[in-house]
Structure formats: structure tokens, C-alpha cells
């Protein structure tokens, strides 16, 4: 089914494709790049308000303990200390997705990052020293460091109200898995283990809380979701949301880490209230590793079947999540995992059961891909397993089961445009699949360096995700007398390049140079509502909203021009700053002149428009079915690797990627998204793991938490499949999360291809790979 589109949109699209000065699809440097490159960008750390104090938090440093006593007296008497607060000094309101968190902790702590006390002082050095002088007496409780320990008989209860340590269970089904098993000629079953990944935003967490004398609160906050943030935070700090203003300084990366309200944020507000002075709090890198949430580790038991000809029959998924000591929105990542299991390929019978498990580990939250990297690693690894069993080429089995445009999946997702088959064909062709991929290595003497190739595909929401009551975004637009345009968008910029895309869209519609467009996107007092930057939704949703606001301005401008120039509006167009003749492109009048004619002439009118765009998607029903997104993006990654079988080192030589992005809007921006996603995906696959021992982080530094560096990046060949999604701005779909999702499975499949050994645990560190190779050799005898 293709969604219906109004004729104007189609006409506009065709017209724009043929126009020479079109900005769409061009390589446009990000608007914030010059300031960032020259060091002019003023980040949170650069903001210093008059009389500002510095806040610091004392974290528990105990994974599970009763708080017996907190003695703050020595800190309070220090010169320069303006406030010391504990849970006893503030009204405690529970918050978080599981209502199991408070800003400061009372009674007990459930993970090492639990906030015990906080200080505001004249300098950050004094605050740091004061924190050291707070004496806390604990009574240690048994530590639950893993899912297994948490589920063991007689395990200690972490939160009183959840006696079995399982705060959430999710179930999903379509078809009948038992029937699917009967229909299968081959069945493969495996257990996959995926690790804890840290976001590693270049900018660490921070906030400034500043009360006006009228009691209004201004927050300089790095949140990704300013409007729901106001709403959630207001309940915790007991200030009505209409009295809170959120200003976002340039944000040094989000990746989902700023989707929730974190305890340090209300704490900073409490300090500002206690001192009647602005307070700034910023995390050190070590605090960032210890006291911010991570991607959730999961254990995924997956069983799936196929018929002799490769047709998929069923999939049975059992998933457990290490939630940590509190619950964030991240507990809902299985909502996205299940959509990959149910809808990336055609499969008639699917069942998923998920248990979200409390442990005394630092807690987990949203992270680029939102449960999809975990699911895709399991699913795409197992598809290769099925192909092996059937003696099929991994490409053929995927092509056989790939979704196509017009299908409605078992979960009720309507795939208007779907370029999966083209992605599979393009990525493999560019990688040289026919020549380089051979049948998996036969077991033999596992020594020396070998090469292999593997693939994996991607399914993700591409037109927002209707999780909240609205998945919309607002835009306001004003044109001044000189042709300058200010666009107020609800969409936040976290480095992904949305402001550039929005400016391109507006410039395109109004026939103005990009320089004429300014974007205001970081102040809730000025910008209209948006649900937030997540779910790869901004280009699609905020882009559509900006497009519609710009079209309203365009219509008004053309109507004014028609009147002033005594022409028919349908014969006019806007191009390069002028009103032009639509057929000849001959300039008729500068746009500013028409605006001034409107403003100062008889009409005395201004060009100001607004739009609220709500995507044509539906919230999932009680069975978690329904068309959750306005469109879906697809992709395929092919990885070529070299494996040193003596040391276990996996070197990725190349990634060939093909992404169904609907339509490219900013070629340079989208290349950055894809390449950055591949790099982050390679880290997840090969090196990144925040390691905990009994609830304590043992590698909270970049020395030992290993990101992929530029020196290790492989050749990346990125192809764009343009399916022209009718609902998208100029045909575009969201693509931000996709490039991270399939890297692990593609590389793991390539390692299997090279060595004959399948590794179902991430990351593929040299030591893990070597051990698995040795185990396989031992098993061969």
C-alpha cells in the first residue's frame, strides 16, 4: 500500500528535482561547523553567570548498601561552601520509567552511582574537597552483579516493591510458533550475549540552574527532549512547567543518553534553590563513565526455522535485560527489538518474551538503535546459521525473505517504500561478494591469518515512532523586510546536523540563499513543541513541519507578488532571492521588495507562519501491533575481515553499506551520519565494553574503555538507495540510528566465514576470539 499524497506535493517534488539551483541532495557543510572548527562555540562549560556557584555530587561508591548515617558537618563549615544537601533536605519524589529513582537517596543505595549528597561552593575545587569531607556510614548488602544472580532462588530484593527483581515483562506474538516449528525443515537455536556500551559523548553531562527573583527557573540543559523534560522535571522539583525555561547550549553528542531526566539535574535545581544563586554542575570524564546510564546488556535466546527452500517459518525470542539498579526509558528498548524480529524479513510466526531484571549494576538507558543493535546481532547471526544448515548463500536466503514495498508485516507495520532488496544487491555488489565470499572455512588447523566476508541487514523506524500521545513537531517562521528568515523549530540539535537540513528545506522552498536562514532551536520560551530528538525522527518530522511552514510562507509571498506584479500566482516561482517567471526563470522582482510591498503597502501585513506536523502513524495497540512509524528505513552492511587466528585479532578491512534513506537531503551530512554510525558500531562489535565487577566499574577511562580510533577505521563504501518516500520531506526517511545497527552481525558473520567459528558474544576482543577458536579446535579433537 502506498500512502495517498496530495497532488501538489508530487508536483512540487518533480519541479524541484529538475531545478538547477536546488539545494536538496547537495553537499552542504553543517551550519555550526565554522564555530566548532574555530573554537568559538560556547559550550555549557564556557557559560559563567554572575554569582554562579559550582555543584558537585557525592556518589555512593557502594553497589548495594543501607545508608546508616550521613555526616555533612565537616563539609558545611568549609570556607566557600554555600550549601550541602542530602535526601533529608529536599522533598523526595520518585521518578523514572519504573518510578524507582529519586534525586538523592534515602534508606539504601542500589548501584554505585546513587546520589548521596551534593555541595554548592564558590569554586569547583572547594566543592570537590567538601564532598570528600562528607562521612557516610553504610551497612553493605549482598551485591547482585548479574542477571543470573538476580534470578537465583533467595536472591536479595533490590527494590521492596518488586519482590522477584523483575520490574517489567513484555510479550508479543503473531501467528503460531508451534505451527511454525511443524512447518520447518531446519531449526537453529542459539544464545547471544551483548555487553554494556557507554555513549562516550564528547561533551560530558552538565547543567546550570538559575532562579529569577520571580521564582521562575531557567535551566541551561543538554537534554534531547526539552518539552517532556520540563514536564517530567517539574514533578520532581515541584515547580509548574510553565515557570521553567529550558535553554540548550550546543550539545556535544546525545545518542540517547539525554532522553531521561537524570538525578543530577533536579539536584542542581535543589542547590540553586538552597543558595538563591545560579549553580553549574559538569561531570568529569570519570563521572561520565560511572554516573551516566549505558546501553543495556542482554541475553537473547533465539530459535528460528526455515523450509528447505529457505523460506522463514518462525522465530521464538526470549530476552533478558540487565536493567541495573534503577529504570529509565531504556527498559522499553525491546519494543524496538521486536520490530526487527517481526518485520525485517517476512516471517509468519513470531513470539517474544522479555524480562527486565534489576541488578546492582549502574543502570541502563536509551542508546542509538534502541535495542535494535542487540536484536540485529542475534537475528542476522542466526540467519547465517540457517543458511549454513540449508547450504544456501547468505545473500540468497535474505533475498528470498526480504520485505518489499507495499507489504504489511505481521506486526502491522505498513511498508510503503522498501528498498531492502536493492540494499542487499547494492552492498554485496560493491563489496565484491561473488568473488570474496566463499563457503565458510572448514575446520582445520586454526593458525595464521585468514580472510572472510559477512553481511547483515537493518530495519528501523524512518518516520518517527508513535510512543507518546503525539509524535509531532512545531515550526514558526518569520520573514523580515530584507529577505531574512528565522525558523523556530522544536527539534533539538545534538550534533546530527538537523539545523542544516531544516535550513536547506526552508531555503529551497523560499528560493533564498542558505545564508538568509537562521534556525532557533534551543529555547523552550521561543520554540514550539516537539517530542524530542530520538527515533531517527528529526529530518522526517521536523523537516516536514519546516517544509509545511515554509510552503505557507511561500504561498503568501507568491500571492503578494502576484498582486504587486499583476501576474497570476501560478506563473510565479521563487529562485535565488527573486520572484521569477515560472516558465522562463526570468527574475521579476527581488523577494525583499515584495515583502516590503506587503508590509508597508496597503495590506500592512507580515509573513509569519506556523505549522504543527503530526505523522500519519498510529500508536501500537494492546498487542503491540500497528503502524508505529510513517515509514521505515532499510539497509545492508557487508564486512570484509582479516582474522589472526594465533592472537584472535579481528581487523575489519572494509564495510560496504547501502541504505534506503528515501532521499538524500544533505549528502555531506548523511555521509557523516553513516560513517560515524559505522565507527560506533565497530566499537560495539570489537572493543567497547564498560566492565563491571560486583557492581563496580573497572575501566572508567578512555585508556581502558576502548573507542575505535580513526587509525582503525576501514574503507567505507556507502551507497544510498533513494526510494522517494511519499510521506517524507522531498522523499526523505530518517537514517540516524541505522548505520550502527548491523555492523556487529556483519563482522561476526565475516569472522565465521573466515574461520568456521561462530561467536555469539560481543565484543569480539582478541582474547574472546582466540578462546572461541581454541574451544572449536578442542571440540574437533
Amino acid at each position: 500500500m502506498i500512502r495517498s499524497v496530495d497532488d501538489t506535493a508530487v508536483k512540487e517534488q518533480t519541479r524541484r528535482k529538475t531545478r538547477k539551483d536546488s539545494l536538496i541532495g547537495k553537499r552542504v557543510p553543517k551550519l555550526d561547523a565554522p564555530d566548532k572548527a574555530t573554537g568559538k562555540t560556547r559550550y555549557l562549560d564556557d557559560i559563567k553567570l554572575p554569582r554562579m556557584l559550582y555543584g558537585k555530587i557525592l556518589f555512593a561508591d557502594r553497589p548495594h548498601a543501607r545508608i546508616v548515617k550521613i555526616d555533612t558537618s565537616a563539609a558545611k563549615v568549609m570556607k566557600g561552601v554555600r550549601a550541602v544537601i542530602t535526601a533529608d533536605d529536599v522533598e523526595l519524589v520518585t521518578f523514572g520509567f519504573g518510578s524507582d529513582n529519586t534525586a538523592l537517596k534515602k534508606g539504601k543505595v542500589t548501584c554505585i552511582r546513587d546520589e548521596i549528597a551534593a555541595v554548592a561552593a564558590d569554586t569547583s575545587e572547594i566543592a570537590t574537597e567538601a564532598i570528600k569531607r562528607i562521612a557516610v556510614t553504610y551497612e553493605d548488602l549482598p551485591v547482585i552483579g548479574s542477571i543470573e544472580e538476580s534470578l537465583a532462588d533467595g536472591a536479595p530484593v533490590i527494590h521492596e516493591h518488586i519482590a522477584d527483581n523483575v520490574p517489567f515483562r513484555f510479550d508479543y506474538a503473531h501467528g503460531d510458533v508451534d505451527q511454525g516449528i511443524l512447518e520447518s525443515d531446519v531449526i537453529v537455536e542459539d544464545t547471544y550475549h551483548v555487553q554494556r556500551q557507554a555513549h562516550c559523548c564528547l561533551g560530558t553531562s552538565g547543567i546550570i540552574a538559575d532562579f529569577g527573583s520571580d521564582g521562575r527557573l531557567t535551566l541551561h540543559s543538554l537534554t534531547q527532549v526539552p518539552f517532556s523534560y520540563k514536564h517530567d522535571l517539574s514533578k520532581i522539583i515541584r515547580i509548574p512547567p510553565e515557570r521553567i525555561r529550558v535553554i540548550q547550549p550546543p550539545i556535544g553528542g546525545g545518542f540517547g543518553s539525554k532522553l531521561d531526566v537524570h538525578p543530577f539535574e533536579p539536584i542542581c535545581v535543589f542547590l540553586a534553590r538552597a543558595t538563591s544563586r545560579p549553580v553549574r554542575m559538569t561531570f568529569s570524564r570519570e563521572e561520565e563513565f560511572l554516573a551516566t546510564p549505558t546501553r543495556q546488556p542482554m541475553v537473547i535466546k533465539l530459535k528460528s526455522g526455515a523450509k528447505k527452500d529457505g523460506t522463514f517459518t518462525f522465530r521464538d525470542v526470549l530476552m533478558t535485560l540487565d536493567n541495573g539498579g534503577h529504570t529509565s526509558w531504556g527498559a522499553t528498548t525491546p519494543w524496538i527489538s521486536i520490530r526487527t524480529f517481526s518485520s525485517l524479513y517476512r516471517v509468519p510466526h513470531v513470539r517474544q518474551h522479555v524480562d527486565v531484571i534489576y541488578t546492582n549494576n549502574i543502570y541502563a538507558c536509551a542508546f542509538r538503535g534502541y535495542g535494535n543493535p542487540q536484536a540485529t546481532f542475534a537475528l542476522e547471526s542466526q540467519i547465517d546459521g540457517l543458511a549454513d544448515e540449508l547450504g544456501m548463500d547468505p545473500l540468497d536466503i535474505r533475498l528470498k525473505n526480504a520485505q518489499e514495498s507495499g507489504e504489511t508485516t505481521g506486526q502491522g507495520l505498513v511498508l510503503g517504500t522498501c528498498g531492502l532488496k536493492e540494499c542487499l544487491e547494492t552492498a554485496t555488489r560493491n563489496a565484491g561478494w561473488d568473488v570474496k565470499h566463499s563457503a565458510p572455512a572448514k575446520h582445520g588447523k586454526r593458525t595464521g591469518v585468514v580472510r572472510g566476508m559477512g553481511m547483515a541487514s537493518i530495519f528501523h523506524v524512518g518516520g518517527g515512532a508513535k510512543i507518546y500521545r503525539s509524535d509531532g513537531c512545531g515550526t514558526m517562521l518569520k520573514m523580515d523586510d530584507f529577505g531574512g528568515v528565522v525558523v523556530f523549530t522544536g527539534a533539538s540539535e545534538i550534533g546530527q546536523g538537523s539545523e542544516t537540513v531544516i535550513a536547506q528545506i526552508v531555503a529551497e522552498e523560499l528560493g533564498l540563499p542558505l545564508d538568509n536562514i537562521r534556525i532557533v532551536n534551543n529555547d523552550t520560551d521561543l520554540t514550539p513543541w516537539d517530542v524530542g530528538v530520538h527515533a531517527s525522527r528529526t529530518t522526517f518530522i521536523a523537516g516536514n513541519s519546516a517544509l509545511r511552514a515554509a510552503r505557507k510562507a511561500r504561498e503568501k509571498l507568491l500571492a503578494a507578488a502576484a498582486e504587486q506584479l499583476k501576474r497570476d500566482a501560478d506563473d510565479l516561482d521563487l529562485s535565488a532571492g527573486n520572484v521569477v517567471d515560472r516558465s522562463t526563470c526570468e527574475p521579476l522582482a527581488p523577494i525583499p521588495k515584495i515583502i516590503r510591498g506587503l508590509h508597508f503597502g496597503k495590506k500592512n501585513d507580515l509573513i509569519m507562519t506556523s505549522d504543527y506536523y503530526e505523522p500519519p502513524s498510529t500508536a501500537p495497540d494492546k498487542e503491540d501491533k500497528g503502524d508505529i512509524s510513517a515509514c521505515y528505513s532499510f539497509g545492508t552492511h557487508v564486512a570484509e575481515v582479516e582474522v589472526d587466528q594465533d592472537t584472535g585479532v579481528v581487523k575489519v578491512l572494509g564495510i560496504s553499506a547501502a541504505h534506503d534513506v528515501g532521499r538524500v537531503i544533505n549528502q555531506m551530512g548523511i555521509e557523516g551520519q553513516i560513517e560515524g554510525g559505522i565507527a560506533q558500531g565497530l566499537g560495539y562489535c570489537l572493543t567497547e565494553e564498560l566492565k563491571l565487577r560486583d557492581g563496580r566499574v573497572i575501566n572508567p577511562t578512555f585508556t581502558d574503555y576502548k573507542l575505535i580510533t580513526t587509525q582503525e577505521l576501514p574503507e567505507m563504501n556507502v551507497a544510498f538507495i533513494e526510494t522517494n518516500e511519499p510521506a517524507g520531506p522531498y522523499g526523505a526517511k530518517g537514517v540516524a540510528e541505522s548505520p550502527l545497527i548491523a555492523v556487529s552481525a556483519a563482522v561476526a558473520n565475516a569472522v565465521h566465514n573466515a574461520t568456521g567459528v561462530r561467536i555469539n558474544e560481543l565484543p569480539l576482543t582478541p582474547e574472546r576470539v582466540l578462546r572461541k577458536l581454541q574451544e572449536a579446535t578442542d571440540a574437533d579433537g
Binding site: T687, T765, P766
Partner: protein
């Protein structure tokens, strides 16, 4: 909150040795190990900092009478491309080029890398294989006394050396490798830069008539101190590098090291990669010999 009260920057060795013995003094070279500890609060700031970067006699590499001398305050960035070092001790050039990253190498010094006494110190292992001797200066009533300590005796534990208060490492000296000598150094990690070695190995082999006539083997990150591989050496001296001999040598290496399990690698894996690196070096030596 400890604070440094004075910062002194002597320009001669005799001034330095006189100052170094004063109470509360810490000698500062590149500062790439000390500064982060001071900033993070994992070490107290010393009362008096004596910065040695202004002392010219502690800097640079010289070659005389078949011996190479590198001043303790010579920057690591430069040792990797120094023509003397590359020609006569290529394994040290190799190791110097893999310390941390260019920015840190630009600041860090050879003496600092040794005095910090990390079991993972990249430059210590090639110096063991080169049989290097360290010149250590101490103030005496009638001037400065210099004593020699073999690099194999310099380290006494993680972060600990034979240096007493007042001692200053002045220079590293070793004999130039004869032309036909085979030498190699490598460290194992997961990335090419910014990597603390999971394990490292250095070898120097002299060969005649297809046999190894003399051998020096060193290991890093597999014992409390950078270690000389006495048993591995014994397994190959006076032997032809056959597969069997190489296997005996790597087995000896596995057994004479005493690695620990930590967040970077397990004990078992460290033994595995030491054996692999050593085997590959010996195979290269045999190959070089055959060509």
C-alpha cells in the same frame, strides 16, 4: 588540597643533583605520568618541583666508540626517527614510535618512561634486549658521583626502582648492534595508538653459520617489572632455529613470565600472545637468515 610551593628549573647537572636530595622534591621531566596523577588527585602534588627540561647535558643521543648514549631528558618523539638509533638499535626506534600517541611522545622523555617504572613501559623492553646500562647521578661533597646500573637491575617492582632520594637518572648507554644482528620489538594491543601493552617482546639475536650465537630477550607487561627472558635465551643459544627449537623457546617464555589477569587481558592470554610474538620474531630471524 596539597599545593606546590616552589618550582625550580636548574640548568646544570650539578645544580640538579644538589637540589634533588632536598626533602619534598619531585623531579619533573615531561610530566606525562605525573601531571595526570596530580590533576586527578591520585598523587599529592609535591612541595617542590624540580624541572629538568632546561638541562642540556641530559638531552640528545650521541654515538662514540661503538656506544650509544641517550640523555635521560631526551624527548621520545625524535628517538624513533633518530638516525643513530635507527641504524644501531632499530628495535628501540620502533618502541619509541609506539609510545602512547604523538602528542604525549612530544612531551614525554626516555628517562621518564623508565623512572615511572611501569611494567608496561614500552622503551624498557628494547633496552633490556640491548643490554643497556643506566647512568645514575648523586650529589657528593666534592661534586657529582655517577654510578652504573644495568637496566635489568633498575626496576624493583611496579612503580619502583633502585633510585634513592637524591638519585637522578642521567643517561642510558648501550653498544651499537653489529650490522648482521637480528632485532625486533613488538607490543600487543587492540589499537595502533594510545595503547598500554597487553604484553610486549623484544629480541636481539646474533647468528653465525645458521646458529644463534648470542641472544637477548625482554618482556613487558607480564611480570611486576620489565623482564629479561633468561630461559628463552638459553633455549636458542647455540641452536639452529628449527620449529622444535622455536617451540622450546616459546614454551620457556610462557613459563618464565608471571603475568596477572586484569581488565586488559587474562594471565593465560598474556602467555599466549607472548609466545606468538616471540615465535613470529624467531621465524622472521630464520627467514632473514635464509635470504
Amino acid at each position: 588540597m596539597s599545593a606546590t610551593k616552589s618550582y625550580l628549573a636548574p640548568t646544570t647537572l650539578s645544580e640538579l643533583t644538589r637540589l634533588a636530595g632536598e626533602p619534598g622534591v619531585t623531579v619533573l621531566a615531561g610530566g606525562t605520568d605525573l601531571q595526570p596523577r596530580w590533576s586527578k588527585g591520585t598523587a599529592d602534588r609535591p612541595e617542590i618541583v624540580v624541572d629538568i627540561k632546561g638541562i642540556n647535558e641530559l638531552k640528545g643521543a650521541t654515538f662514540a666508540n661503538g656506544e650509544i648514549r641517550i640523555g635521560a631528558c631526551t624527548r621520545i618523539n625524535g628517538i624513533d626517527v633518530n638516525v643513530i638509533v635507527r641504524e644501531h638499535a632499530p628495535l628501540l626506534a620502533e618502541a619509541a614510535g609506539r609510545v602512547a600517541c604523538p602528542q604525549i611522545r612530544n612531551r614525554a622523555t626516555l628517562g621518564g618512561n623508565l623512572c615511572n617504572a611501569s611494567p608496561a613501559a614500552d622503551t624498557a623492553v628494547p633496552l633490556i634486549a640491548l643490554d643497556a646500562v643506566l647512568d645514575i647521578a648523586t650529589s657528593a661533597p666534592n661534586g657529582t658521583i655517577i654510578r652504573q646500573v644495568p637496566v635489568t637491575e633498575f626496576f624493583t617492582g611496579p612503580g619502583a626502582t633502585v633510585l634513592s632520594p637524591g638519585d637522578v637518572l642521567v643517561a642510558v648507554r648501550f653498544k651499537a648492534l653489529p650490522k648482521e644482528t637480528f632485532s625486533a620489538w613488538n607490543k600487543f594491543g587492540t589499537r595502533p595508538s594510545m595503547e598500554i601493552a597487553v604484553a610486549s617482546v623484544g629480541v636481539v639475536l646474533r647468528m653465525a653459520d645458521g646458529k644463534v650465537t648470542a641472544a637477548r630477550v625482554g618482556y613487558g607487561s607480564v611480570a611486576p617489572v620489565p623482564l629479561r627472558g633468561v630461559d628463552a635465551e638459553a633455549a636458542i643459544v647455540n641452536q639452529t632455529l628449527s620449529d622444535d627449537v622455536i617451540a622450546r623457546c616459546t614454551e620457556a617464555a610462557r613459563n618464565e613470565i608471571s603475568p596477572i589477569t586484569d581488565m586488559r587481558a587474562s594471565e593465560r592470554y598474556r602467555r599466549d600472545v607472548v609466545a606468538v610474538m616471540l615465535r613470529r620474531m624467531l621465524e622472521n630471524a630464520r627467514h632473514a637468515r635464509n635470504n
